[in-house]
Amino acid sequence: MRYVISGMALMMLLTVSCCKKPVEKPTDTGKGITILFKPMWDGQDLVFNSKSYTKPDKEVMTYTNWAWIISKLALVKTDNSEVLLGDGYQYIEFKAGRVKFNYAAAPAGDYKAITFQLGLDSAINHGDPNIWPSDHPLNANLTGLHWGWAGGYIFQAMDGIWFDSATSSNQKAFSFHTATDPFKRKFTLPMNFTLQADGMKTATIEVWADEFFKTPNSLSLSAGAMSHTLGSTEIALMQKIIDNSAEVYKLKSVQ
């Protein structure tokens, strides 16, 4: 009995505050702006597990996972100031359909772009992952993208299987993970739009998987299908993938 009580006391000491601010729940409120992320492959919807996609070099890919963490998600006003959406963090898990986020509090006004950072600033990246409420985009149990005691988050994970060609039966795996401070990237997607005080608009951001392998670095999976941050070849590959990402995100419409 004594043991149990001291155990409880210990737990109390270990426990973080239970008074964290609740996060804004991404539900459709009919107000503000909804951001919709759509996974694509060269203009078609990207379907997980059951569909395969052919690269220009004839390699055939099937995605089984694609998830990513962004920060500083914001609307850019015409005067270049930024209006943060919620606390700016979001976790997008395409396969699970976690793709649509409503920000009812987004103020009315004229905007010229939507911006976000793939990945996290260093302090947050290496901060305690357990301070976040269970439904927060940085909660490690929600995303499964925290590295545990090695510290830091995986900013993006894309996994699946591939074949050298449509006729090959030699199944291989790909696993592109990007992480660590140098690999965060900010993207700004221009488009002029106006939010009214009453009513909601939906911004559709297409995310084209095939672009990760295209320009400026044309990437063949046969030359490397894994980036997990350890080892110089893998880091070089991660660098190339990130350098290729300028064309990945396409803001299609705000309406």
Binding site: G7, M8, M12, L14, G151, A173, H228, L230
Partner: protein
């Protein structure tokens, strides 16, 4: 039983003390329904973070205690011979040391009974991930012909005849004994089964001193991706699927349901048998490794009797042609990791540091009828 009960009230008092938000308190009505809400922030340790708790089943002292009685009560089975604890033994972190468990009439289960701990963090249940909540999960073993072989109407009838259940269903749920609240009470009890007391759990985030030099080397192998320097492995990559303080990936899409390359020809489809998806065939819920020293035999079918066999599998016998082997392993094909005997011993030593003896001796999870 009285002694155990007293603990409940101390727990309740403690739980209510430093709550930031006032817990909803209900006035005691004439029937004695005045549940004591448990503050989750006090139950779940900060090293694990907050789990996503079921919204329809707030934890109360009374609900947890009722769940604990039900967990240990063979009355839940057809012939009153088998309780949950018959197959989920606290001494083994609530796993079954037998390869397959024995239910009523001596029938055997088709899979190994896994440990029950930190279930609040799990998003899928059973080896094949066929259930998404503990509430749904609880009614399965009760009705499974080779476990408790009960019908739900009969369960309700039996419980209603027992005075202590009439009393405690009232206290916990303001209801007569019924099936749904049986499931809720079992869920509540299992949600409180937190195991966070191993030495491994203390070494986070950088308290290396609690580990021996060998365990530390094992930790590095565990947490490094597979790579080789001069032909010698510098990492065995366990963390992708058994990462973090929970040693368990709980996001099904990030390795929480995966194949670790046990079979080239499947005898158990695992999650594929539930989803029907070709790319899910042979994938299973990725288990936690906490208390792993206590939970032998290993894997969904208990095929490995020892941790040495498990480590040999990952080190030397990975089946790269196993259907749907997880990408984080498959990318290394055809290379085996080939840990040296010394490295294997280090990895094993590290796994042995994950034992939480307080958890398996905690009277709060013990048999309340003893």
């Amino acid at each position: 039983m009285l002694k155990k009960l007293r603990f409940q009230w101390i727990f309740a008092a403690l739980a209510l003390l430093p709550a930031c938000k006032k817990d909803p308190k209900q006035p005691a009505d004439a029937t004695g329904y005045a549940p004591h809400y448990i503050n989750p922030a006090l139950l779940f340790p900060s090293i694990f973070g907050m789990p996503d708790l079921p919204k329809n089943n707030p934890l109360t002292e009374e609900g947890v205690f009722l769940g604990r009685m039900l967990f240990y009560d063979p009355v839940l089975s057809f012939d009153s011979s088998i309780s949950c604890s018959s197959c989920h033994d606290q001494k083994h972190a609530f796993a079954d040391p037998r390869k397959f468990s024995t239910g009523v009439f001596g029938l055997k289960t088709g899979r190994n009974a896994p440990p029950l701990m930190n279930m609040a963090y799990s998003r899928v249940f059973f080896w094949d991930a066929r259930q998404k909540t503990l509430q749904e999960q609880a009614l399965e073993p009760i009705q499974a012909h080779n476990e408790m072989a009960m019908t739900l109407p009969l369960l309700e009838k039996k419980l209603k005849q027992i005075a202590r259940y009439k009393l405690w269903f009232k206290k916990a749920f303001n209801s007569e004994p019924d099936v749904f609240n049986t499931a809720k009470a079992l869920e509540q009890f299992q949600l409180t089964m937190v195991s966070a007391g191993s030495r491994f759990n203390q070494f986070f985030p950088k308290n290396w001193d609690v580990l021996t030099p060998d365990e530390r080397k094992g930790a590095i192998l565990f947490n490094n991706t597979v790579d080789f320097v001069g032909g010698v492995a510098t990492g065995a990559d366990c963390f992708h699927c058994h990462g973090g303080q929970l040693t368990q990936q709980n996001n099904p899409n990030q390795g929480g349901i995966s194949s670790n390359g046990l079979d080239s020809v499947l005898t158990d489809k695992g999650f594929g048998g539930i989803s029907g998806g070709p790319l899910d065939m042979g994938t299973f819920k990725t288990p936690s490794l906490l208390n792993i020293a206590l939970t032998a035999p290993y894997m969904h079918d208990g095929r490995f009797a020892t941790l040495d066999e498990v480590i040999d599998h990952y080190s030397d016998h990975m089946l790269y042609n196993a259907p749907n082997l997880h990408p984080s392993i498959k990318v290394h094909a055809p290379e085996q990791i080939r840990l040296s005997p010394a490295q294997k011993a280090q990895l094993k030593a590290f796994l042995l540091s994950m034992t939480d003896t307080a958890f398996i001796n905690d009277p709060a999870f013990g048999n309340p009828f003893r």
